[in-house]
């Protein structure tokens, strides 16, 4: 079934390109920029399940990424776990926390829910900064010996990259499967009219808590890989509001509620940023540019790029998701 969807093959080709392109000529520079792109796509795709499907904005999506990183680095440094169990445990731990928090605030609706997610980032960052076992404000350093089981630092960086590309691919397939499932249908009903959805039997509070938790899993794993790669984690890096903001801009730019949109948005945003960063005047104004972009999209093109494409060529709907 899924194999007959063009969408499946488009994503497969993208993953293949990501995996093969940097190996040609051992291009480490390209690998680093694609790694960042993979992180962006992972964050944006998962944010999209909240923002695009359920219509609930999550201003604190970076908390998943940062906490995932913290769990993974802590498991590896203090408990001597291997990388794979550490990132998986990190993902499960963050998802569980998100589920508990989600069930706590599940009765909240609309703007109250959004307000709660704004506070999460500030509060978690303040908590971690004061939390002794995780190194408080100085953070945790990983010893380079931890790279040995993966064949030394140089080989390890490639392995991390491949796993991260896999996580990116999983994010896109996950957001497709959620979209076509009954669960996704319920989420989109909530996004359009929560009262009507509830009347028609969608268990709205439970679905909201579930999607909040589900959208935490893969970003947490990506965070674990990202901070393992850097061998160092510290609160301002882990809970960097800028990354959270960029995920939001990317999702809106590509088109909220579509599966391909976040990937398209991430690519465009990367291009734009690379272009702006080379000019000295603009490199200080990255946040400003992200803000202007977001404002223009929200005011004039709330459908994003995919919305524009669909409006122009309606038949694309049969090919893309």
């Amino acid at each position: 079934m899924i194999l007959r969807r063009p969408f499946f093959w488009i994503v497969a080709i993208v993953i293949l390109l990501f995996a093969v392109a940097p190996t040609i000529g051992n291009n480490v520079e390209l690998r680093e920029s694609l790694l960042l792109a993979a992180v962006y796509i992972t964050l944006a795709s998962n944010l999209n399940m909240m923002l695009g499907y359920a219509g609930y904005v999550n201003f604190g999506s970076i908390v998943f990424f940062g906490l995932g990183g913290y769990f993974c680095v802590y498991f590896m440094s203090a408990l001597n776990w291997a990388l794979v169990p550490a990132i998986l445990a990190g993902g499960v731990a963050v998802s569980t926390l998100a589920l508990c928090f989600g069930f706590g605030i599940l009765r909240l609706r609309g703007v109250y829910f959004a307000l709660a997610t704004i506070g999460v980032n500030e509060a978690v960052m303040a908590f971690v900064t004061n939390f002794g076992p995780w190194g408080g404000a100085t953070g945790i350093y990983l010893s380079t010996e931890l790279f040995q089981p993966l064949g030394g630092p140089a080989r390890a960086l490639w392995t991390i990259y491949y796993v991260l590309v896999g996580v990116m691919g999983l994010s896109m397939y996950l957001s497709y499967f959620v979209k076509v499932s009954k669960f996704g249908l319920g989420l989109r009903a909530i996004g359009q009219n929560e009262d009507a959805a509830a009347v028609l039997g969608v268990p709205t509070p439970r679905y909201k808590a579930l999607v909040y938790s589900l959208s935490a899993f893969l970003p947490a794993i990506a965070g674990g890989l990202y901070f393992f790669k850097g061998a160092y984690i510290q609160p301002p890096d882990a809970f960097d509001l800028q990354l959270s903001t960029e995920a939001l801009v990317i999702t809106m730019l590509g088109g909220q509620g579509t599966v391909m949109g976040p990937a398209l948005g991430a690519y465009l945003y990367e291009e734009l940023r690379g272009w702006l960063l080379t000019s000295a005047t603009f490199s200080n104004f990255q946040l400003v540019i992200a803000g202007v972009l977001l404002l223009i999209i929200v005011l004039f093109a709330p459908g994003g790029l995919m919305g524009w494409l669909y409006g122009r060529w309606p038949r694309l709907r049969r090919w893309l998701e």
Partner: protein
């Protein structure tokens, strides 16, 4: 024991300013169902307004209040037309995103211009001594000015024609339109008032504590806590809740490192949201179910 009492009184003085800031958010929400996420940036704007008026132009600190009030109102009205007007009546997602975007722009510009260094405005005002404890003069002055502004706002909303129009639009926009109230102008006015309140509270905080460009986030979170405690859309509740939050902070200070305050406030925030979605100090019955 006296120390704890002094700490509580000081907390109440500061808390009244939190209440003033939260009145800005709650007024805008009550009138047009929009959460103003530029609130933090506007608080910082008030702080920097104070800094440049005192250090740059040499004005005495409290003479900065009227210009900041007027400028805040102007900025708010402009902001309404740029980012909010098209969002009124649409799903909350859109107005949250548009005000968030404006916040990014302002904070980005601020960081590019002044970096994230600490600014400080020293105001010399004799304090009030009680035994070994001294209440700083700036804290007392801030509470007095807050009370005065709240009284003026109350007079405006309940005694003037324009204020009554604001309340009418908050109650039912369509009905207000039918009886000939220029609703769009009233919405712009209410947004301007909300931003002016944020700016003035930022200015008052600036007289008490040092600040950075990024200070707005923490104060914005405090405003949300206060707003939710008081019930969204309820200015009187916001003032009472602000004082309550200050009291809690004052009560906690002797027992807890300052860096934990934010965590405590967030836990309080979530707890109140879950237990009392209509607000703790909501004296009337909640108008809306959402």
């Amino acid at each position: 024991m006296i120390g704890l009492l002094a700490s509580i009184v000081d907390g109440v003085l500061i808390g009244s300013v939190y209440g003033l800031a939260a009145m800005g958010i709650t007024l805008i929400w009550g009138v047009m169902d929009v959460i103003n996420l530029t609130h933090g940036a506007m608080i910082v704007g008030g702080m920097f307004g104070l800094y440049f008026l005192t250090e740059g132009l040499g004005l005495p600190a409290y003479a900065a209040l009227p210009p900041i009030l007027v400028a805040g109102f102007g900025v708010g009205v402009a902001l309404y037309w740029v980012a909010v007007h098209r969002m009124v009546g649409r799903p909350p997602l859109m107005s949250l995103l548009s005000t968030f975007a404006v916040n990014l722009i302002l904070i980005g510009l601020g960081t590019a211009a002044w970096g994230t260094v600490l600014f400080n405005v020293s105001v010399s005002l004799p304090g009030f001594s009680l035994g070994r404890y001294t209440f700083p003069g700036t804290h007392i002055m801030a509470a007095v000015l807050t009370a005065a502004i709240a009284a003026v706002l109350y007079f405006f909303l309940y005694r003037t024609r324009m204020g009554k129009a604001v309340r009418a639009v908050a109650g039912n926009r369509e009905a207000a339109e039918l009886v000939g109230i220029p609703t769009t102008r009233v919405l712009a006015l209410a947004f301007g008032l909300g931003v002016a309140l944020a700016g003035v509270s930022g200015m008052l905080i600036g007289t008490m504590f040092p600040f950075t460009v990024l200070a707005g986030d923490a104060y914005q979170l405090k405003s949300f806590v206060v707003t939710v405690l008081g019930g969204l859309g309820n200015p009187t509740g916001a003032l009472v809740a602000g004082i309550a939050l200050g009291l809690v902070e004052g009560l906690a200070t002797p027992f807890m490192p300052v860096s934990w305050t934010l965590v405590m406030e967030f836990v309080l925030f979530v707890a109140v949201l879950i237990a009392f979605p209509g607000g703790l100090f909501n004296f009337r019955r909640s108008r809306r179910s959402t």
